[in-house]
Amino acid sequence: MLLLLIVCFSALYFIFPKKLLSFFNLFLFVLLFSISSYFSIENLFFGKSISFESSIGFWGKNIVLKIDKLSSYFILIINFTGIVSAIYSIRYLEMYKNKSRIELSLHYFSFFVLYWSMIVLTLVQNTIAFLVIWELMSLSSFILVMFESEKKLTSRAGINYFIQMHLAVILLMIGFITVNFYTGGWTLSDLNIYFAEHKNIGLFLILFAGFGFKSGFMPFHTWLPHAHPAAPSHVSALMSGVMIKMGIYGILRVVFSLQQDLLLIGIIILLISIISGISGVSMAIVQHNLKRLLAYHSIENIGIIGIGIGTGLIGLATENQTLAALGFTGGLLHVLNHSLFKSLLFFSAGSVYQRTHLMNIDSMGGLIKKMPVTAFIFLIAALSICGLPPFNGFVSEFLIYNGFVIGIIKSDLLIKLLFLFALLGLAAIGGMAVFCFTKAFGIVFLGNPRSKEVEHANEVSTLSLIPQFLSLALILLIGFAPGLVVNPIYNIITENSENLKETIFPSTESLNSISLAVGMLVIITVLVFLIKKLSFKGKTVSETITWGCAYSGEAPKTQYTASSYAENYIHGMENGLGIETTYNPIKTREYFPQKRHYHSHNRSFYEVKVFSPIKNRMSKVFEKLAIIQTGQTQHYILYPFILIIVMIILTVLNFI
């Protein structure tokens, strides 16, 4: 009921004056944040289960909202990212001075709708209600993406997103209707009944595809790299940080209801995830747009989460409890981790955009001097997304790696080889992420400024930095004390899986040792640093320009750019990565070369080869269908008339 009240309350968005909107938004966020966090903490840490039936009838039944550990976990993640993005948005949206009050109201309204719809999504049990909320989530995020709809690219990205989300809904609908057809129920727990009696793989694939669209698994990822750069940064943070995780939430619900074919499904998830991970990060390396680069990293990280889930499923299937525990916990922890560092990355990318109005990495540089705090935050987030200790990304990857090792030691030949491949994949992903983020951080924040905009940049306001520090604190907490967070997460899995009941998490000891080790790392580093400081006493420490083989002019222009940094990597893979360059090479006899330009950009292989043909084919079909849309009122009246006649005939003939 309270929830409904808040939802109704949010209509007030359209009444408030422009200046107060952001604070009203924050107020609503805090309100919902405190209520839902209270219930989820009660549930997750103290084991109180709460379920209530709302009085709204729906399809002849009341909608049941139930909170269990999985939903509490997701609610906490949504809440945290939600509230930090709400705080961040206050200063960020001030940048758009030319937007009217109503546009901003609509924006905030949809922002809030996105937030509460995600929370409700984790609670609803009724599948139809689930779809309705899912649709609300997609629509509100669509409106958010379209915020700058006057830009052509933005509106294209928005429409693309809109269409793909509806493909997803159709798939989910098919899935849920199938369940209803065989079991007669409209609740999520009917999945259990269905899976117990029928073949699991078919329905799983349909639902996986449906949820996969949202979370951006490899063949379904094409909306992501367009939508994220188009949306304002706080929206990208919320979308990439948590909204795509709702797909993971759905997949987890399905996975925990599976009864047979676990091994096959586990292998499928694992393989798809490895492919998503590798291709996501390999596309990220060649991007010039900072936010698009981050979007591709979302695909990579969804891949890592999927790898965890797949590993866990294989563990369940082969009755290897350690493997299952490590895989699922690693995957679930990575959901949290990714929401933290990815929102941070989007925030700092947003701050850079706010101050420079640039998104192209190649025109940035030297920002660490202008925006030291943002640079520091970006660095920490980059280190954690690369999975480097002592930050949180390492912990989840460590658990998954450990799972692989266990899987390699204790399973059949086929599974051993599979895990070998997975190990190869995850190691490659890790290495490529390092490549990508050394590039991103190095080119954006270090060196000399490459354009005028950068030279005039300055640090963003404290209000924008506060939410970032909150995320930073959590990143450090998980990185330094992983033992604390892992046990509650493991409880989620034991609650949902029969085979793992009454077991304890296998790798707590290692995690505590990691705390010790990273603690020692900090101590040693500080010691060495102090020694260095001491040794500088009484010595000349001077400054001069960078060594350039005695060349000292034009320093900013001679720097390495993102393109040249990635050139080594791209070499020989231009086709696979879809790189297109336009450049007119200097001829042998051109003694006084003309001024010329070099331009390179990349187009996703999937988009060009797979998605576009389908899209084109579909639009052709629809064009033909458009014949019936004549624009004359008489015709439109005729159509229902024909329909009525057909129905009468069918009824007479006893077809209906």
């Binding site: 540089g365 030691i409 190869l424 490529m432 270090l446 080790a517 640093f529 320093a555 080594n568």
Partner: protein, 302 residues
């Protein structure tokens, strides 16, 4: 602690042995084996020049580079004596720790805003990206062989008694040797003595370092070399050997390691830069070979 100190001591004479080998092979007398220690001391006592383009990253990176190598040294075991920190999956931590230090060195190079250093960092990032899977698979194969996932357990139960196992051991040692060469930027992957910035990899990344920082970076390189040789020597250590013998084998392996580096540097040219990629990927395939060999030994394959 004993292992730790011997790693530090060996790391100080390691480069001396390489240089000595090279000079003997080319018919020169060459500097004394302890010359690198003097070099380091000289650098430690010098003042420093920083580029005006740089930020705190540039000043902090060498410190972290050094401290993570030190921590890595604390993780490695010798024979059946575990490292000071030892837990299930510590080798993953080990690899990622080295990754962290490399991350910082790369961004420190980009911090200078120099074209050359950008070039070097791009290459370094690419090569470490390519070599990471090889190292992982190698250690995973040992995990498979020994049924353990910590360094201690890995090497404790690892024995190369049958002929296939011995073969695996040699392959693995070969791979590790090459990984060590690559990570320390020696021939045939990179030539530390080259005088052209355009062809350097590691050296060009640290062009702007001087004094204390440079000393830290160089010393870390030597420590890393010894870490890898300790890994190799662990293959051949058996738990029943007494501690003295184990240390002796470790010392002997390290000296042998250094001499072979000297040999390679005297007789080989470096790869073309473009061919480095292939050469590194080959290491991964050898590692996969080791994995299949391990399956053979365990009689899982046939």
């Amino acid at each position: 602690m004993l292992i730790f100190f011997s790693i530090i001591i060996l790391s100080l004479i390691f480069p001396g042995i390489i240089v000595r080998t090279k000079s003997v092979l080319s018919g020169r007398k060459g500097p004394s084996i302890v010359q690198p220690i003097y070099d380091l001391i000289k650098l430690f006592r010098k003042g420093t020049v920083y580029s005006i383009t740089t930020s705190w990253i540039f000043r902090f990176a060498p410190v972290l580079y050094f401290s993570s190598a030190i921590l890595a040294a604390l993780i490695l075991p010798i024979g059946n004596k575990s490292g000071i920190i030892s837990f299930e999956g510590d080798f993953i931590f080990f690899i990622y720790l080295l990754g962290l230090s490399k991350f910082f060195l790369i961004i420190a190079a980009l911090d200078t805003g120099s074209a050359f250093e950008g070039m070097g960092s791009s290459r370094e990032a690419l090569y470490s990206m390519l070599v990471e899977p090889a190292f992982f698979i190698l250690l995973a194969s040992f995990a498979l062989l020994s049924g353990n996932s910590s360094f201690e357990g890995l090497f404790n139960t690892l024995t190369f008694d049958t002929s296939i196992a011995l073969f695996i051991g040699i392959l693995a040692a070969y791979t590790l040797f090459h990984i060590a060469l690559l990570e320390n930027s020696r021939l045939p992957y990179d030539d530390p003595k080259t005088h052209l910035e355009l062809t350097m990899i590691h050296e060009v990344m640290v062009l702007d370092y001087s004094g204390f920082d440079l000393a830290l970076i160089q010393w870390t390189g030597h420590i890393k070399f010894v870490l890898y040789s300790l890994l190799v020597s662990n293959f051949f250590l058996k738990p029943e050997m007494n501690l003295g013998l184990q240390f002796l084998i470790f010392f002997a392996t390290t000296v042998l390691f250094a001499i072979s580096v000297g040999f390679i540097e005297s007789f080989r040219a470096r790869h073309k830069l473009r061919n480095n990629n292939k050469a590194i990927v080959i290491l991964t395939s050898i590692a996969i070979l080791v994995f299949f060999g391990s399956l053979l030994v365990l009689k899982k394959l046939f």
